[in-house]
Symmetry: C2
Subunit: 200 residues, 2 copies
């Protein structure tokens, strides 16, 4: 028998369904919420309720948005000659934080995975083609994840867009900032050697 009051146990259960939140942290969060201002709890609950209602996919880039076109596609200051292809809407904020990219995005909503039955027709690849052909795009950065599925997706897209004659690139592979060579995995360290850069 649990000794936790039912309203607390209910919040713990709902929170522990979130990624990275185990039963113990869910419990800590629930007890923290118990001591939070009512207004903060209300706002969290309200924001959750409002999360999906007004959201849709941008008809151009397929980012999640409450406007159409999305804020990024509507931004005339951005560089229309360069397109960054990503797997998930969640990949956009980290790329934006780097401050290294000011072009437009194209969200695939997944990666090719024969094992999980995800084929090209399940991703937004068909919708990528006119963007590469008909607009002034000169470079397509295939920023899918550095995983088996992300690599397969990048290779497939490279193949289908190659007739357009645009430059196609892939994010660099190598040691992450702060890494320790002693503990680097073989694949990463091998790629760091293969892609070594002049330094003189």
């Amino acid at each position: 028998m649990s000794v936790t009051a039912e309203p607390i146990a209910r919040v713990v259960l709902a929170l522990s369904k979130l990624p990275g939140i185990g039963p113990k942290s869910a419990q800590r969060l629930a007890y923290h919420l118990l001591q939070s201002a009512d207004a903060d709890i209300e706002e969290l609950a309200d924001s959750l309720r409002a999360l999906k209602g007004s959201l849709t996919l941008c008809a151009t880039c397929f980012n999640v948005t409450d406007k159409n076109p999305c804020m990024i596609c509507a931004d005339t200051q951005r560089d229309s000659s360069i397109l960054c292809v990503i797997e998930r809407p969640a990949d956009i904020p980290p790329v934006e934080r780097t401050g290294r990219f000011s072009g437009f995005y194209h969200v695939l909503h997944g990666a090719l995975s024969p094992a999980r039955g995800v084929g090209p027709e399940d991703l937004r690849i068909q919708e990528l083609l006119p963007r590469v052909w008909n607009t002034g795009v000169r470079e397509v950065i295939l920023a899918t994840n550095p995983t088996v599925e992300g690599e397969a997706t990048a290779m497939y897209i490279r193949q289908v867009i190659s007739p357009a004659g645009v430059r196609v690139s892939r994010l660099a592979r190598g040691l992450p900032f702060g890494a320790d060579i002693e503990y680097a995995d073989d694949i990463t360290l091998g790629q760091a050697f293969d892609s070594r850069q002049g330094f003189w």
Copy 2:
């Protein structure tokens, strides 16, 4: 200008007010929620709304509860001769998980802190006294935190309940399970020496 749609940014802001959830994990959680079933989001929002409404403090032990007396105080199977004094309701689940304690609790709702202006009258110390005197209690475990404030609170309570003549104990101090002596802090390691136990 943020490139994140407002409904997402709102959830990110509300989540990042929780302890241990920084802006990046809040963003990850929000994007995860976007892909969650509507029913799961509803349940999380509903459980949050219901969290405080039906909760009160147990009139006996001051645990947070939706029944009075709370589930623990109402449990006649527990050992009424031993009382565990803790700072917070959140301290009960971890103690229960150890399976080492089957007595009753007394929740102080804080610890003495001259710096933050918390005196004995701000804690549930007054309410502890009749429990120690009038019932069949034979031992009081002072399970306040192993911090300066928790120690001060334990010392104060030991003093005020000493006339009752019950056994007063404190949780053991020492190296945590899995610790590395090389990296142990001086205070912990010193206490591990002071409290060393026969091993032969």
